[in-house]
Amino acid sequence: MRRLTALLAGLLFGIGLLLAGMSNPAKVLGFLDLAGAWDPSLALVMAGAIAVALLPFSWAKRRQRSLLDVPMQLPQKRELDGRLIGGSLLFGIGWGIAGICPGPALTLLLGGYWQSLLFVLALLGGMGLFSALERRRAR
């Protein structure tokens, strides 16, 4: 059952991205271009998503286990540190260069575009680099 709901949630997420226009890098860059011809659509994507998710998440925060009886796995970190801010700034630079964030990168992957294949390979490379740097730090 948990596998089925995970698959359905993933499908729904992808359909949402496609409908919202998030899977079109040109539209995402149109939103990030405040000084040019600005397309505010993506602010509404986020607003719509947060509005729907607000109550379910406040319910989830008060629960120890989910409706399918697995432990709630919400992030426990609290600190506002350099890793959080520096990492997010780096992510934003990458997002601003190509107009692609991780979700749309995956919905674009099977579309047969060389660009999305290259982007996802580089994304996995960046995540691999993070793991390698973390291992070095731990030594």
Partner: protein, 144 residues
């Protein structure tokens, strides 16, 4: 700044966003997990951790969504505006940055803000600000 009304798509943006919010809600209420794409992907790249099958199936659903959509309608337009070098650099920065920052647009921007996490609010403000700044530099300073 002037608004590009011809490109503005409020209803599909809101309804697409609502579906994303519904998906994130189902995933947390039923599976007890945050639908953060970079976090799910990153944890599958590392060894161990629980619920690997659920994480993989969520991402599989994301990959398969355009195939399902394609059964009913033509897929929305896709236009890349970046060449190979730019895409490679962007992918590396997105991969590295989302792992250091513990999340991306979905994990921080949607799920994190929906659960009123100060960390996620700060992260979202940071990546929005650097996204706006990067496009400004590339389009209006460098390219202009």
């Amino acid at each position: 700044m002037h608004i590009d009304w011809a490109s503005f798509t409020p209803w599909t943006a809101l309804s697409g966003g609502a579906l994303i919010g519904l998906s994130a809600s189902l995933f947390v209420v039923l599976n007890g997990r945050v639908a953060g794409i970079s976090g799910l992907l990153g944890s599958l790249l590392q060894r161990g951790g629980d619920g690997r099958d659920e994480k993989a199936l969520f991402l599989l659903g994301l990959l398969a969504a355009p195939l399902l959509w394609g059964l009913f309608d033509t897929l929305p337009e896709v236009e890349f505006q970046t060449g190979g070098i730019g895409l490679t650099l962007a992918g590396l920065l997105v991969g590295l940055g989302t792992r250091y920052g513990s999340g991306c647009t979905s994990g921080h921007g949607v799920c994190g803000i929906a659960r009123l996490s100060p960390r996620s609010l700060v992260a979202t403000l940071a990546f929005m600000a650097s996204g706006f700044a990067t496009v400004f530099v590339l389009r209006h300073l460098w390219g202009g």
